[in-house]
């Protein structure tokens, strides 16, 4: 346990293959409330860290963080949507923003980004969204505000 105040948590690190087993055990131990999935991308190390946050309502909001690493090239891991129903939607989020493949989740699709984004998974660290948007959607032109009579001075940026 570390951290102050609201950051109190128990962290465990597992192999991707043990994930389902560990979370099922967590459910039996009383961690019945699924909070969310976070993904952190480390392109230099070539891995993505996936965090599962589960909480125990019976034990006064105790937080368990299950952490695992998947390779960046083939980011596939098992879906836990049958253990925690909410995970289904959090997994869709991980899929569209990071390109993770959750085996066994039948509804992986573009959801939040549907019709808004045609490109690589945007939250990956090596995707420069600003450049991509400029090139793809604005034809390489930055948006500039209309010229104003009163401000014809030289802009130094």
């Amino acid at each position: 346990m570390k951290g102050a105040d609201t950051g109190r948590r128990i962290e465990v690190e597992v192999e991707p293959s043990q994930l389902r087993e560990r979370l099922r055990r967590a459910l039996e131990e009383g961690y019945d409330h699924f909070i969310g999935i976070n993904v952190v991308d480390y392109p230099r190390a070539g891995v993505m860290e996936v965090y599962y946050f589960v909480e125990s309502v019976q034990r006064g909001g105790e937080l368990l963080v299950v952490k695992l690493r998947v390779p960046r090239e083939n980011p596939a891991l098992d879906s836990v949507s049958d253990i925690y129903p909410l995970a289904e939607y959090q997994e869709i989020e991980g899929h569209e923003f990071f390109g993770l493949d959750f085996r066994g989740n039948g509804s992986l699709r573009k959801w939040i980004l549907d019709e808004n984004w045609e490109g690589p998974p945007p939250l990956r660290k090596d995707v420069d969204t600003r450049k991509f948007v400029l090139e793809t959607y604005y034809g390489g032109q930055r948006y500039e505000r209309p010229k104003q009579e009163k401000s014809l001075q030289e802009v130094v940026e």
Partner: protein, 370 residues
């Protein structure tokens, strides 16, 4: 049986905010509902990776428009952990007061959203009148009505005004009067009771399993509240109860929110009495962000809000100013996906009831999209 698919929203009065639903209908009964988010996706998580941590605070408030202070609070908690500071005593009380006012403002806005579809237009304007008082209070303390940027890593941004106690108590008296009138004129009104009773039932075990938080969870009879469980900021020092419902229907959830307004008023009353008169209000933090990890969990007006911040030395440009990754987890995603699906699958919900069900879940779609 002929199934009909109808696209509801994002402008529907029963679907507050920018979210749409795809309803599968059999006659008037809703068989299935699919959420269509993304109308308010602004890519905050990516934008924040490009910006300094103090600018990120300004951005974080925009994630949930109706309840900005709790987003800031959870961001601030995570940042405090990364910097390894404990805010000064005065700031803890100030944060509690501001957060409770934010909850009050958010619940009042929910009243407006909820009373509209139930066709009680008078309650709508009363709620907005009461909220106006709260917004004026925010203007007086934090300098703005909606986005305050008052809660700040290391404390609060600037000192509380000198006449805080008198002014706050005055505002609370006025708000409480209006809320009492609303209780008599709207919540206890037989028409409203008939409209919302037994609509959208959610059992306690299902609520926990599906990931519901906040008033939705408590309306089902589970007395779980992060304020009580973790006792962050000054919540350990004030005395309050957690209201909870019995049946878990729309009416119970509404009543939980009503009683939470009284609880909030009570908490603020105690906090302004107990707040230390003197003392620092904010620690000065260094500009450079140390590597570390922080998890900030707070009980927002809609449920549990979590911010997870990772800061590493592995920065692309080598600037130690931006956080490496920020993740926000809002309460709305669970309410509009799993919970809503569960209700629709297990109960006969007609299109006319749908706004009541969605309204009683108090969604804030921006925190799905971010």
């Amino acid at each position: 049986m002929r199934k009909l698919q109808v696209f509801l929203g994002p402008q529907h009065p029963g679907a507050p905010g920018n979210v749409a639903f795809l309803l599968t209908l059999d006659g008037e009964r809703i068989l299935d509902v699919d959420l269509i988010p993304g109308f308010l996706h602004r890519g905050f998580e990516k934008m924040m990776e490009y910006r300094r941590w103090d600018m990120d605070l300004v951005m974080s408030a925009r994630i949930c428009v109706e309840d900005p202070d709790h987003v800031e609070l959870s961001y601030t908690h995570a940042m405090d952990q990364i910097f390894g500071v404990d805010p000064p005593e005065r700031a803890k009380y100030a944060r509690t007061i501001v957060a409770e006012f934010s909850r009050l403002a958010s619940h009042l806005l929910w009243m407006m959203h909820f009373a509209g579809p139930v066709a009680a237009r008078y309650a709508t304007s009363w709620a907005i009148a009461a909220r106006e008082e709260v917004l004026k209070w925010f203007d007086y303390v934090a300098g703005h009505r909606i986005y305050h940027h008052y809660i700040y890593p290391g404390g609060v941004r600037w000192n509380l005004p000198k006449d805080l106690k008198e002014r706050t108590l005055q505002v609370l008296d006025r708000v409480e009067g209006l809320v009492r009138d609303m209780e008599r004129g709207f919540f206890l009104h037989p028409v409203f009771q008939r409209r919302a009773r037994d609509v959208g039932r959610l059992k306690a075990s299902d609520a926990v399993r599906l990931g519901a938080t906040g008033p939705v969870l408590r309306g089902s009879g589970v007395a779980h509240d992060i304020r009580k469980a973790l006792k962050y900021d000054a919540y350990g020092m004030v005395d309050f109860e957690i209201p909870k419902g019995e049946y878990g229907d729309a009416y119970d959830r509404a009543m939980v929110r009503l009683r939470e307004m009284y609880v909030s008023i009570g908490i603020i009353r105690q906090a302004v009495q107990q707040i230390p008169e003197e003392g620092p209000y904010r620690w000065r933090l260094p500009m450079a962000l140390p590597p570390g990890e922080g998890v900030g969990r707070v009980e927002s007006a809609r449920g549990e809000f979590m911010t997870h911040i990772v800061s590493t030395t592995e920065k692309p440009g080598g600037r130690p100013l931006e956080p490496y990754r920020i993740k926000f987890r809002g309460p709305t995603m669970a309410h509009l996906t799993t919970v809503l699906k569960h209700i629709v699958h297990n109960e006969e919900i007609t299109v006319a009831d749908f706004p009541v069900v969605v309204g009683s879940l108090d969604p804030c779609p921006p925190d799905i999209d971010r």
